[in-house]
Symmetry: C2
Subunit: 218 residues, 2 copies
């Protein structure tokens, strides 16, 4: 990945990463991003779901959505994904920190107009979140496709920033009788709650069973 | 809270909330925000820690940070906080959704110059994340205060957006033999990991013990 003025990690450069493997691994560990764009001169930051397929991020929404209307103007956007992995508790307030993995992608969102590509992109978003769910549900209707805008954003100008490990205190502070350490944070999926309107006898589908199995964090 | 063109929830208006109680409760449930600002005409979205005290959001960082340098120019910013509470699995791909609580705050970041106010703001950020930790650690030094910029952002132009509950499918799809439901998501704090460099005999401090007790999610 080329490093640009926008993606170069300037504060604590050792936390910066520019290889696609690292960038993809963070993007694949989350499905909510924050998209920033400029509207009437003001910055706007909106959370939305995303998927990744190859070197593209994919986002979708109602074609009537204000954000997607703005993205369609070929504006510059900034798409940021952040995973918080821990609270870092040091011996001084100053050295308290957080462990995190984040990715920032700059680019322009490209509206997907081709019907087959659009459906494939929607499937990719679905697969990114719960693999196999797409095949289990009722097929998409033409009017639903029309009511949905899907955009792809190339991962061409991006960087990751990562902090791991314990506190880094001032040398003399290690002599203090202050407990220091890390409180790990995990995103946990809990036991799925069936819709009370599920038809009698309908069991949890395979994709959801697999998802629960894979994501058991405790 | 006055509703402005920037804060009005236009897509699915029933999900919009403008009362301070709702806005505060979401802000108090998280400590990572995404700040958007315009830099050389491009939007930039950066994750950072925050605290809330009364009607202000407080953020801090190294005085050499690019983001804080930009914020100090009295630019418009957009600060967004998002909690993802669940995956909503419907009978069609189209009606899949997520349960979430988000807050968007528009405003300008105000640099806190007064030393006492600055220290109080840093304590407020610390208290927002782990109450009581501030009193346990080594006091802040003057050079640390100088190396840190702290900004307050009034919560004067803000809105919340919330989705809860199960899937909302098309009437005829309830007849399908497709499992639908919600996969709840929780942020979980795990057992704290002591710094191997803690002095022998130093026990976990009270603030961390209380934090673990309060945040036991499973």
């Amino acid at each position: 990945m080329n490093i640009t003025d926008r993606t170069k990690v300037k504060r604590i450069p050792k936390r910066g990463h520019y290889d696609l493997e690292t960038i993809y691994s963070i993007l694949d560990d989350e499905f909510v991003c924050h998209i920033g764009f400029v509207h009437h001169g003001s910055p706007v930051v909106i959370p939305t779901l995303y998927g990744r397929k190859d070197n593209y991020l994919l986002i979708h929404g109602a074609s009537t959505s204000r954000m997607l209307g703005e993205l369609n103007k070929e504006l510059d956007i900034c798409l940021t994904v952040t995973l918080t992995d821990g609270l870092v508790l040091a011996r001084s307030g100053f050295h308290h920190s957080a462990n995190y993995r984040s990715v920032v992608v700059f680019g322009k969102a490209q509206l997907i107009e081709d019907k087959a590509e659009k459906e494939a992109a929607l499937k990719a978003v679905s697969d990114h979140i719960i693999a196999g769910r797409w095949e289990e549900v009722r097929p998409t209707k033409d009017n639903e496709l029309k009511a949905t805008h899907v955009f792809k954003i190339p991962i061409d100008e991006a960087s990751a920033k990562i902090r791991t490990g314990g506190p880094a205190d001032d040398k003399e502070d290690y002599e203090l009788d202050i407990w220091a350490g890390v409180v790990p944070i995990k995103k946990v999926y809990q036991t799925p709650i069936p819709d009370p309107l599920n038809k009698e006898g309908v069991e949890m589908s395979e994709s959801v069973k697999r998802f629960v199995e894979v994501n058991k964090n405790f």
